[in-house]
């Protein structure tokens, strides 16, 4: 026989064996779970029907093998199957735990101690060199803390308008430090200000844009915050023209946190998309389901 035919024959044999194994394991699973009472009835039926067509010997073999398998391997197999089901239940419980934890994390203050320290130091400097500017930065810091600290956060802070207000306060403080190295543009239509938007996400994206995009760039650059509705999606972009993403730098806790919270709040309907525009820099975009009805 030529080798190709041998191969084909071997393939056929392997497939047949594969199918046979599948059938066999299904049979074992069935045996493991079936009740004894039912099995006995099936044996009797098999004995009668097969005996009727003169296959009584086969029926006896069937009874003998299934009895053996059920006694020897049935218990273990049943335990395995049950363990698997229990595992799925445990997964659900675990997921619920994760959910509560993530919600807790979202509620906790996300003010970076470094930011607070640097801002207080800045106010200290400005008191000596430029008192009116010190008063302005001080007011921005209070706005920022009011929006950030859960103890101070006003109810109904979860609108795009409120989140932009807080982002503006944060950016004003950063501008006092970075001066002309930080330019800011907000393109947020008034009608979108009342749209629901989860807290601290916009903030987190802006922090990233400054920390990884603009601060390392000597000339600094521009941060653009843009909100728009595209079909049934509310899209909020934070773009910078900074140094762009370093492919070998891990994404921070901030982005992972946003992704997790979007998943918890909207399931698969919302996403965080990061893009590298051709002209350089980085664009992060949060896309949420948006319905006009909510606005009415």
């Amino acid at each position: 026989m030529p080798p190709s035919q041998v191969n084909r024959a071997l393939d056929g044999l392997r497939d047949a064996l594969g199918e046979l194994t599948v059938v066999w394991w299904r049979f074992v699973d069935w045996l493991a779970l079936v009740e004894w009472r039912r099995l006995v009835i099936i044996w009797l039926l098999a004995l009668v029907t097969l005996g009727f067509i003169h296959l009584g010997e086969q029926a006896v073999w069937f009874i003998f093998i299934s009895f053996g398998v059920k006694v020897l391997a049935g218990g273990k197999r049943k335990a395995e199957i049950e363990a698997r089901q229990a595992g799925i239940k445990a997964n659900v419980a675990n997921l619920e735990k994760q959910l509560t934890q993530a919600q807790m994390a979202a509620l906790q203050a996300q003010v970076e101690p470094h930011f607070l320290f640097n801002t207080l130091a800045l106010i200290g400097q400005l008191i000596e060199t430029d008192p009116p500017e010190a008063a302005r930065v001080h007011a921005h810091l209070i706005d920022y803390l009011r929006a950030t600290l859960p103890q101070l956060r006003a109810r109904g802070g979860g609108t795009l308008g409120k989140q932009c207000e807080m982002a503006r306060a944060y950016l004003a403080i950063m501008q006092a430090r970075m001066k002309e190295r930080l330019q800011v543009t907000f393109i947020v239509p008034v009608f979108l200000e009342s749209a629901p938007f989860p807290p601290l996400m916009l903030q987190s994206l802006i922090e990233n844009a400054i920390k990884h995009g603009l601060e390392p760039k000597i000339a600094g650059g521009l941060i653009t915050v843009r909100a728009q509705v595209i079909e049934a999606t509310l899209q909020v972009d934070v773009c910078d023209d900074g140094i762009g993403i370093n492919l070998h730098a891990a994404d921070g806790v901030g982005l992972a946190n946003i992704r997790e919270r979007l998943q918890l709040l909207y399931g698969g309907a919302a996403e965080l998309v990061i893009e590298a525009p051709l002209e350089g820099g980085c664009c992060a975009s949060i896309r949420l389901p948006y319905s006009m009805m909510e606005q009415a």
Binding site: E128, T129, P216, G220, H248, R259, G268, E271, E275
Partner: protein, 252 residues
Amino acid sequence: MITALIADDEAPMRDQLRARLLAVWPALAIVAEAANGNDAVALAQQHSPDIVFLDIRMPGMSGIEAARQLYSRCHIVFVTAYDQYALDAFEQGAMDYLLKPVTAERLERTCERLRTRLARPPQDIGAQLAQLAQVLQQATPAKPSYLRWIQAQVGGNLRMVSTREVLFFQSDEKYTRVQTATAELLIRKTLKELSDELDPDEFWRIHRSTLVRVDAIVEVTRDMRGRHMLRLRGHKEELEISRNHTHLFQQM
């Protein structure tokens, strides 16, 4: 006349330091101010000041790198926000440093020291600086060399997918499929290239054509055919583990 240069990326910081220096050392002339390390070196070469006040964290060239180019020609004083690693290194190397925000008392002591030092040539701190550069590099997160972002062309845009989002990579005929919880993308990078560049603790090879994210693995089961199948968090599809990779899961 004794001259000095101030380098800090934040203007208010420079203003404050200048004001405080004027108060404690009126005779000191601030000849230039720089907003980044590159400017600091250029301006120091132009003005040859006696003293350079250098912030450590600046865009472009850092304060440490700038100091390595300048220490033989002028006295260096580092100005830094709190950083335990740097402070230890300064203390060990007997280098001058100021902690932000700079207090008048501390500045006075530093200026006192500088006045006595100015009589002598600048101390040779080359070795200390090299050590300091190394210490600060170690303090920043390790493993910087692994690939952490996947670039995928989506429409006309270049999408950046964090490796943390990726559940698995699977090689197709021409492309590599990237599966996340929400999307499926195609990239041109081959599985071989990926497995060379990715963190081997982050992704495991389970099959000739599959790389999976380790922390997304939920369980390994045997299917009807006796094949080892792997289930991932948040994904329906089961992935086959080939025979020569089942050893990865022996302990699980």
